[in-house]
């Protein structure tokens, strides 16, 4: 963490997005995480992605639970409302918020404890409802604020700082999300901004629940020899299967790809995700095959990353509920009340 507040002066030459805003306009409060924490890199990637998409800051609602990861919603886009709720319950807050206003972009930031232990039920049901949100797990396999206990994502054999070995099998959020019917499933690494930024963009634009499990090492409690979530281990066992590039609606695809190298997926608003398969046998639109592939790689101790699965056809939360196109929170009272005449009609049933 840095103890010096950055000056508010910005260099006139800083690049601007379509709204004329610089990256600095998307920053948040100063991080209070440990120096070198993977989460701060994720924060930077979010800022880069939101700036790149030219979202107005207030269009973003940032939601989180409790834990180191959940603190980070305060560190980006201070022009958007944030909500640091209770441990493991961010998905229900997101569900209610999304119900009230379908026009905002919802980013939920959670951790492996917040998602896979205390919040496992809510995580599962937000997926099941296909709530239109980006759900980031900053996954480090360890409880940081309570000083180093294993989390539910710790691998068998992974060692704690003082040498204790984890004996319980991990819960893999990506495999879990696929099983539950998630419509956008990705894994990335806090140290790979090239991969992470377009994934965040695509996840924000995806209609429905977008999960990105970001391996984000804990420098204080889980970055040692024997840990499977350390910077070193992740870099060595990092298997990108599908790289996603994000192309906004109006932009032309300029890069030349060889025949069959790239599969474009068009999102709801016309933007496209270009999927570049690094393993030719892989199919990111086939849930069953994706799960099998993932299981095999997990057995080999590899972290499969990239856009693992995408489904743009399944209806999201509001489509399932046939909700009005305009947000419920701004509907005029006149539109909502049956009035006096309505009451007379209703009363006739009970006479």
């Amino acid at each position: 963490m840095s103890f010096i507040t950055k000056p508010k002066v910005t260099h006139p030459g800083l690049p601007k997005n379509e709204l004329g805003l610089t990256r600095r306009d998307y920053e948040g409060g100063m991080s209070t995480l440990c120096a070198g924490c993977g989460h701060d890199s994720v924060t930077a990637a979010v800022i880069e992605a939101v700036w790149g998409l030219s979202l107005r800051p207030e269009q973003l609602a940032k939601l989180s639970g409790i834990g180191c990861s959940s603190k980070t919603t305060a560190y980006f886009v201070s022009g958007g409302h944030g909500f640091n709720s209770v441990h493991g319950r961010m998905p229900s807050i997101a569900t209610g918020a999304a119900a009230a206003n379908r026009d905002l972009y919802y980013i939920g930031v959670s951790g492996d404890g917040d998602t896979l232990s205390i919040g496992f039920g809510q995580f599962a049901h937000a997926i099941r409802r296909n709530v239109n949100m980006l759900y980031l797990i900053e996954n480090n396999g360890v409880y940081g604020l309570t000083k180093g206990q294993f989390s539910a994502s710790a691998d068998i054999g992974s060692k704690a700082k003082r040498g204790e070995e984890n004996r319980q099998p991990p819960v893999d959020p990506v495999l879990t999300a696929l099983t539950l019917g998630a419509t956008f499933v990705a894994r990335s690494f806090s140290g790979d901004k090239e991969q992470l930024v377009p994934l965040i963009k695509a996840g924000l634009k995806h209609q429905g629940f977008a999960l990105i499990d970001v391996l984000s090492p804990c420098v204080t409690f889980n970055d040692h020899e024997g840990s499977t979530k350390s910077y070193g281990f992740v870099r060595d066992h990092y298997d990108e299967v599908v790289h996603a590039d994000f192309v906004p609606p109006a932009q032309e695809i300029t890069t030349n790809y060889a025949e069959g190298e790239v599969t474009p997926v068009t999102l709801h608003d016309g933007s496209r995700v270009l999927l570049r398969k690094l393993d030719a046998s892989y199919d990111p639109t086939h849930r069953g095959k994706a799960m099998n592939y993932l299981r095999e790689k997990l057995r080999q101790g590899e972290h499969v990353t990239g856009l693992i699965y995408i489904d743009e056809r399944s209806p999201e939360f509001h489509a399932v509920n046939n909700t009005a196109g305009s947000p419920l929170n701004t509907m005029s009272y006149e539109k909502l009340t049956p009035g006096r005449k309505g009451m007379e009609k209703i009363m006739s049933r009970y006479r």
């Binding site: 409060g29 107005r56 800051p57 207030e58 269009q59 609602a61 939601l63 919603t73 305060a74 201070s78 022009g79 958007g80 409302h81 944030g82 909500f83 640091n84 709720s85 209770v86 319950r89 998905p91 229900s92 807050i93 997101a94 569900t95 209610g96 918020a97 999304a98 119900a99 009230a100 206003n101 026009d103 905002l104 039920g121 809510q122 599962a124 049901h125 409802r129 509001h318 509920n321 046939n322 909700t323 009005a324 196109g325 419920l328 929170n329 701004t330 509907m331 009272y333 539109k335 909502l336 009340t337 049956p338 009035g339 006096r340 309505g342 009451m343 209703i346 009363m347 009970y350 006479r351």
Partner: protein
Amino acid sequence: MLSSADAQDRLNDFVIKLANVNGTGSASANTLLMKSMFRMGIPVMGKNYFPSNIQGLPTWYEIRVTRDGYVARSGRIDLMVAMNAETYARDVREVDPGGYLIYDSSWPRPTLLKRDDITLLGVPLARMCNETFKGVRARILLKNIMYSGVLAALLEIDLDVMRALLAESYASKKSLLDSNVQALEIGYHYAREHFQCPLPIRVQRMDRTANHILIDGNTAAALGCLYAGATVGAWYPITPSTSVMDAFKSFCQKWRVDPQTGQNNYLIVQAEDELSAIGAVIGASWNGARAFTPTSGPGISLMNEFIGLAYYAEIPAVLFDIQRVGPSTGMPTRTQQGDIMAAAYASHGDTRHVLLFPANPEECFHMAIDAFDLAERLQTPVFVMSDLDIGMNDWMCPVLDWDESYQPDRGKVLTKEQIEQLPTKFHRYLDLDEDAIPYRTLPGVHPKGAYFTRGSGHNQYGGYTEDAHDYQVVLDRLKRKFERAKSLVPKAIIETSGNQAAIISVGSSDGAVREALHILEAKGVTLDYMRIRAFPFGQEVEKFLASHPLLFVVEQNRDAQLRSLLTLETAVEKHQLRSILHYSGLPISSSCIVDGVLAELGSASRVRSAV
């Protein structure tokens, strides 16, 4: 048997109890009986005692015909319709001396019929159904309608009114209508031929139900949500609150579907549990929609952590607690007022919540609307403390009228223009107006209005803090805000005529207390009365407590929770308060209160010296 003078006395004033097996279709017959008398202009009360089960367990329905318009149980049974062999022995015992019992005489059961002080009327219901109707299910269902016909003859219920009600129920199912009317008439004619009709207990047309409806509190609460402009409902099904959301959904399907687009101007989330339900309510309210959750005691227990968040982060939320019998799972289909303390102080740390206590469906409607207005005005959770008795039984209420001038009180929410004109940054928890209520902004409106909502320690500017002073500034304002709620919540209903002694009650105990006051008055004991309608208690409550040295606190729980709350939150002395408690799971009866008061006062002579 009743003498003729007694008989006159019992005209439109008696109690029928129907003992059935659940899942056999008795509910529609019970409704038919009650509503037909209601349509004859006679005040009625109906109570359903049903099991937590789908099919096969005992269920009872009690109809009190009450020309004086009492709304509680009287505690007596004049006519029992004993249709359940399993409970037959106890059903026979329950009838008051001089009363009647109708049984199915298709099979002789001589040993069970032994009781000389009541009249037994045997009707071969099963045999007649089997002879007339085809199909096992139809025979079972129509047996209920047949005994309704028997009762019509015995009690002189207008058969045309009953036929009309059946016609309304089966408007689109002609064949069902025909068989129902046939069953009704078979029962009716059998009774006319075999018994001396009518009985001394009988009905006669009155005009006391004009401009009244029969409605349950959960439907009325749902209607309140509709009229309050609630757009998001989140819930987890739990007896006895389920019918709140069922009713809300059906009202919305009628009144909240856009005629042009066919899209819904509401969204109901059936959550995975109560934690998620209240989370969704808080998320939606934070985002500026009116949102609510209906639940019961176990749900409130689960919601505690989130309730504390909404209190501390100052987010509106409306909760309907349809109280049932606790502790733990308790008796889910029986009534109690057992969540008063749990709701008042729900969640860890220093928290206190606004509670509203409806006494009947009419108040469920109005207090639902009050709850949304108060929650947004005060930026805090508000609980509507109903119960199973109010929520799931049909009550006679005045027809609900709607004041077209109503506009929701959305509280202190800054508009886009107001945010733009702020001289400084927006500060979420500053007490700018010195009314202890800060200003809110909604997400998506303006970047300058953005702030960070948190349940962790925060200062009045909305920033994170671990500073003792800054933390206390916010906590002390929250206390002042709660003080302020005293003048905003519905006032207690107070009826005084200068007595030293008084009764205090809350919620559904009101009906029984009112009847008890009349009975006591006839016995020479006059008491003042206060019905509490909200927590925190207002000045009028303090005044009433101070001016009555002897106070009977009537409530439906074991541990005297209202009494506890009064001793904690007012200046009343403990020794002023005597509890009259009822916690059997059945709605409280007037006799229980009369007995309690008289026992406490000792004898009539002691009353005069003490009071």
